[in-house]
């Protein structure tokens, strides 16, 4: 267990706390403070995966969120598997179990690697599209192999054992990033009394300062950071969120933060703690201080392990005490990367050369390198590297001043590490999330945040301000500006003094030339994660993909978890060169949320299992559970579906429930019906406008069925409305339609007829509703009330207030079964009491509970529709033969009246609802079966309708169905056929939809 690349001292790790972890089945040791990446590098692990398409060996390239290769599968158990974690962002803990995501069967011996070697040249962009197109039926087979080869992470196969949650936050100033700019922004805002949230994706605040050798106010940068963090944490108006990635920036300053609370501690969240938290933040002002990512340079075989981004090498040395190699060659287009060579040299390892692409670099850092005796090769570039699983040497050649060609002879140097820097790309992802178009800046050689409509400020490297002094100052300015915009007093605030740094001019070089043309040179990778090469982009452009968005989709550049963090600018520059246009003309692709991957656990939070969607129960739910009800979801309601007795099949239960109701008495829990209390002196007028039938003469104590239409004349809900008093009505709606109907009534009242004096209140949950139905229902009711419920004093479609089982009730004599029927409504908390009393007295009548399925059968026997089952938004009342429920003579043109008169609504041969009797009474047609007149017609047969409701009727001893047939109302007695999916053709006869008691004698007793 040797950490051969670990320095004896330095860094922000704790050498007294060794941690053992597993990578690809082998045990290694790192220290507290390490990331998985720094620990692997300390142990000299070069190979961390195979590339996506070519299966080339890959190593760690970067040190942060921009890492494209080190994508790990984490988890010690099946249930705790987490895919696609960047090793550079995963803090080490004792017992961490990790593995490479790709490489099959293993990273070291990779089958696809062989294919990649053979197929490399044969896998240009579009390879999959071009190769696996035919035959189409084979795609599913191809896909399995390709997916495995492509090596995406895998999700756990067991249920997640940890818990997650969400928090909604409001703040004055949201600061994204806690580097020098973010810290001074937060400090300024906090000192001005603002409510501040500051989040940073890393475990420690400080950003670039954590690996900086600079001093602030004469002390170590990290000491200044510690003081600032202390002050922020002590301020009760400030929420400090480390390990928290601001993943999305959405409209109206809404941001989402993925906070990882325990993933640095253990495989499973300890002691039931919340593993990850999703913050949903609404901020008055946002300060983006997201910094910049260093761009690697694009040169031959630049993906061989050992090729790294310059600043990442410095970070590993300074922050983690790890020198990831022995011999370094640094290639740079700018001054700042010289620091990497200095750090490497000062760590006691050999710097073979600094290869500067500029002719005459000059400045403090260059002098410092020369003072250390480091060879500086100017006007040159590393054009390719040697080695397969680790760099073994580099080829260096002089290049032209514009960086387009090699101008001299190639020299070989030995090296195992190549650090490169092509400058810095501001991290503008979040500012792009809200639709702001970034703007190219020639001086920065990068895109900067563009014009925005958000209340957004930016500070530091995101603006191309790459010095610490500049970042500190801009952060302070942003914090103060946010205060000023909110009208708050400005605190006095000093930023710490820094050593002055000036950088010389950088060279705009994105694609290092080679002695061979790009197409023949060794692969020059632009996007490591998606295996996109400079040659691939050139080919895409030559094949006609000129828009950068098309190039992206054709080559996959900037896809995946990477989102173009390292490669996008280089890729655009390559495309721009081929297309002979500037980078701003070429433009950039759009960065989208999320900035880095987030687990589904964090997104779901507690909204899973029983909390996924609210469940609504009636007051009698407990009784239903105790009596073995099977439940059905109706909207959010759990409604009893049927009540099977021991050993009964569903059909047997339904037959028993139906017959008991028809022969004696059944009971239904109808509490879920929507109930809307309507009051006001214009309530009656309003009803006349929203229902298709007349309401002017409905007397107090009477009930009426109504159809509700949309303006197009189509039915959208139905129900019974009762007149409680002259200006007071109770409307019932379908169980699923209650909220929609209430909203509909409010819409018309508020937007069209505000002059009407009418008020709506939802009272669905206030009442428990139980319907007793069947010839013995009156006898049963009489046992529980003193009121006169005889036919003479309580006739069909009446309602009466009365006392039932000792509690006040409204009883409605309405019927959805065609039987003598009473709908008893009591205050919901009396519901169970009355229900139980009914059963106490109902035993002698064989009172039988039934659910929604029997309700459906009983109503279908009577030809009563279910809105939403027999109607589908294309059916008007006349299609249902329900012209009796339309009053065309009402003075006000009710909703739906004009719509029903449209040409298409009055034509002949519309599909109309009829009854359907199969020739063989034992055949129950499937709902949705398609109707044809001629079963011998050639396919596709002319379809003339469908079955909307279909059941076995125990009462009638045969199947019954309701369905739609073209011109059906005129075709009584005619034949219609239903060709089914299984090949059978069912012959049937069109009949009246009222199968039972056509004169309605059973309910009028």
């Amino acid at each position: 267990m040797s950490q051969k690349n670990r320095l004896q001292s330095g860094g922000r790790i704790d050498r007294s706390k060794p941690l053992t972890f597993t990578y690809n089945g082998k045990q290694y040791q790192g220290f507290a403070g390490d990331t998985l990446a720094s620990a692997l590098l300390a142990n000299g692990v070069d190979l961390i995966g195979r590339s996506f398409k070519y299966s080339r060996p890959r190593g760690i390239v970067a040190a942060g969120a921009e890492e494209p290769n080190a994508i790990m599968q984490l988890g010690a158990t099946e249930a705790t598997q987490v895919p696609n974690v960047r090793a550079t962002q995963q803090e080490l803990f004792a017992g961490l179990v990790s593995g490479s995501t790709n490489g099959w069967p293993s990273v070291d011996t990779d089958i696809m690697g062989l294919v990649g070697k053979v197929g490399g040249k044969m896998m240009p962009p579009g390879f999959y599209y071009k190769t696996f197109m035919y035959p189409q039926s084979m795609w599913e087979t191809y896909e399995k192999v390709i997916r495995k080869a492509a090596g995406l992470g895998r999700s756990p196969r067991e249920y997640d054992v940890d818990i997650y949650d969400k928090m909604n936050q409001h703040c004055d100033v949201m600061v994204v990033g806690a580097g020098p700019a973010g810290l001074t922004a937060a400090l300024a805002a906090a000192r001005g009394g603002a409510r501040v949230i500051i989040a940073d994706e890393q475990n420690e605040f400080g950003g670039s300062l954590l690996s900086s050798k600079e001093t602030l106010d004469g002390k170590a940068a990290s000491a200044w950071v510690a003081d600032v963090v202390k002050e922020l944490e002590a301020n009760e108006n400030v929420i400090v969120l480390p390990r928290s990635t601001v993943n999305g920036y959405h409209d109206h300053n809404f941001l989402t933060i993925h906070e990882r609370r325990t993933e640095h501690l253990a495989d499973r969240a300890p002691n039931g703690a919340v593993r990850a938290r999703y913050h949903r933040v609404r901020a008055k002002w946002v300060v983006l201080a997201t910094g910049a990512h260093e761009r690697p340079l694009v040169f031959g075989n630049n993906d061989v392990p050992g090729c790294m981004v310059a600043n990442a090498v410095s970070t590993y040395i300074s922050r983690y005490g790890v020198v990831p190699g022995r011999e370094l060659v640094l290639m740079t287009t700018n001054d700042s990367a010289y620091q990497t060579a200095l750090d490497w040299h000062d760590a006691g390892r050999k710097v073979q050369a600094i290869v500067d692409t500029r002719k005459n670099p000059a400045g403090k850092l260059i002098d410092a390198a020369r003072e250390r005796g480091i060879t500086v090769m100017t006007g040159s570039a590393v054009i390719d590297v040697q080695g397969s699983k680790r760099v073994s040497g580099v080829s260096v050649a002089p290049i032209s001043e514009d960086g387009t060609k090699v101008t001299g002879s190639v020299k070989k140097l030995s090296a195992d590490t190549v650090a490169s820097s092509g400058g810095w790309s501001p991290v503008i992802h979040l500012s792009c999330h809200t639709g702001s178009k970034p703007i190219w800046n020639e001086e920065v050689l990068g895109f900067l945040p563009g014009k925005t409509v958000q209340k957004q400020l930016t500070a530091g490297a995101i603006n191309g301000t790459f010095t610490t002094a500049g970042a500190l100052e801009e952060g302070k300015k942003a914090g103060l500006e946010a205060l000023e915009k909110m009208g708050k007093d400005l605190p006095s605030m000093d930023v710490p003094a820094t050593e002055s740094v000036t950088y010389g001019k950088s060279m705009a070089l994105f694609h290092v030339p080679h002695t061979k043309p790009t197409s023949q040179a060794p692969k020059q990778f632009v996007d490591y994660q998606n295996d996109v090469t400079a040659a691939g982009i050139e080919l895409a452009c030559r094949e006609g993909f000129e828009s950068i968005e098309h190039v992206k989709r054709y080559t996959a550049m900037g896809f995946g978890t990477d989102q173009g963090k390292l490669g996008n600018i280089n890729g655009m520059a390559v495309a721009a060169k081929v297309l002979n246009q500037s980078i701003p003309e070429t433009g950039t692709t759009i960065f989208r949320p999320n900035y880095t991957p987030i687990t589904f656990g964090a997104i779901a939070g507690r909204d899973c299992k029983e909390l996924f969607d609210p469940e609504r129960y009636s007051a009698m739910h407990k009784w239903h559970l105790e009596h073995g009800a099977k439940f059905e979801d109706v909207g959010q309601w759990k409604r009893p579906w049927y009540f099977p007795k021991a050993g009964e099949s569903m059909q047997q239960a339904l037959d028993r429930e139906c017959l008991a109701t028809r022969e004696s008495v059944g009971i239904l829990d109808a509490s879920t019906l929507g109930k809307i209390d309507i009051q006001g002196k214009d309530a009656r007028e309003f009803l006349g406008r929203v229902y298709s039938n007349a309401w002017a003469k409905l007397g107090v104590g009477r009930c009426r069925y109504g159809l509700m239409l949309k303006e197009d004349g189509m039915i959208f809900d139905d129900g019974v409305t009762s007149c409680l008093a002259e200006n007071h009505f109770l409307m019932t709606t379908t169980s699923g339609g209650a909220a929609t109907v209430l909203n509909w009534l409010e819409l018309y009242h508020q937007t069209e007829w505000p002059e009407l004096d009418v008020y709506f209140t939802s009272v669905t949950d206030h009442w428990a509703t139980m319907t007793i139905s069947g010839p013995n229902s009156r006898k049963l009711l009489e046992e529980l009330t003193d009121a006169d419920v005889s036919k003479e004093s309580f006739s069909f479609m009446d309602w009466k207030p009365m006392t039932v089982a000792g509690v006040p009730a409204r009883v409605f004599r309405i019927s959805f079964t065609g039987e003598l029927s009473f709908e008893i409504n009591v205050q919901a908390n009396y519901g169970l009491h009355v229900w139980e009393k009914l059963f106490e007295h109902g035993e002698k009548y064989n009172l039988t509970p039934y659910g929604t399925e029997t309700m459906h059968i009983l109503r279908a026997e009577k030809g009563f529709i279910i809105a939403g089952q027999d109607t589908d938004g294309s059916v008007h009342p006349y299609d249902l033969g329900m012209g009796w429920a339309v009053s065309m003579n009402k003075p006000f043109s009710f909703i739906g009246k004009r719509g029903m008169q449209r040409e298409d609504c009055v034509r002949a041969e519309r599909k109309q609802m009829v009854g359907i009797k199969t020739l063989d009474p034992n055949v129950v047609l499937p709902e949705g079966a398609q109707a044809v007149f001629d079963p011998t017609a050639s396919i596709p047969m002319p379809m003339v309708g469908h079955i909307s409701s279909s059941y076995w009727s125990a009462t009638l001893g045969r199947s019954i169905a309701l369905g739609f047939v073209k011109g059906g109302l005129e075709k009584m007695g005619e034949k219609v056929y239903y060709p089914l999916a299984d090949g059978r053709v069912v012959e049937a006869e069109i009949c009246s939809p009222i199968f039972l008691d056509p004169k309605g004698e059973r309910q009028n007793v």
């Binding site: 300053n253 809404f254 409509v453 909203n743 937007t751 505000p754 043109s893 719509g899």
Partner: protein
């Protein structure tokens, strides 16, 4: 996700509390029965789909249940104003 000011509640609330009800200022014809099919069809089915300012109806469904008007920019999603039913927009040009 929008942050919408309800002119009745007098507060900004999250979009989750609201529902959009489409284009605003479409008046139901006073005498539908005398409308031609074309006039009725225009009222029923034809809606603007502007790139830019759009006046639309929202309802504070999980709040006060009031309908109101919003002038929203369909590209930037900025809400330029909210105003009550029966009022006219002040923001009519970009």
């Amino acid at each position: 996700m929008f942050y919408i000011y309800c002119p009745y509640c007098g507060e900004h609330r999250e979009e989750e509390e609201f529902h959009n009800h489409g284009q605003a200022h479409i008046e139901r014809p006073k005498d539908p029965d005398s409308c031609t099919d074309e006039e009725w069809g225009n009222y029923m089915f034809f809606r603007k789909n502007p790139k830019g300012l759009h006046h639309e109806i929202w309802v504070h469904a999980a709040g006060c249940r009031k309908f109101f008007n919003v002038t929203r920019h369909t590209v930037t999603y900025e809400i330029k104003e909210v105003y009550k039913m029966g009022e006219q927009p002040k923001v009519v040009a970009e």
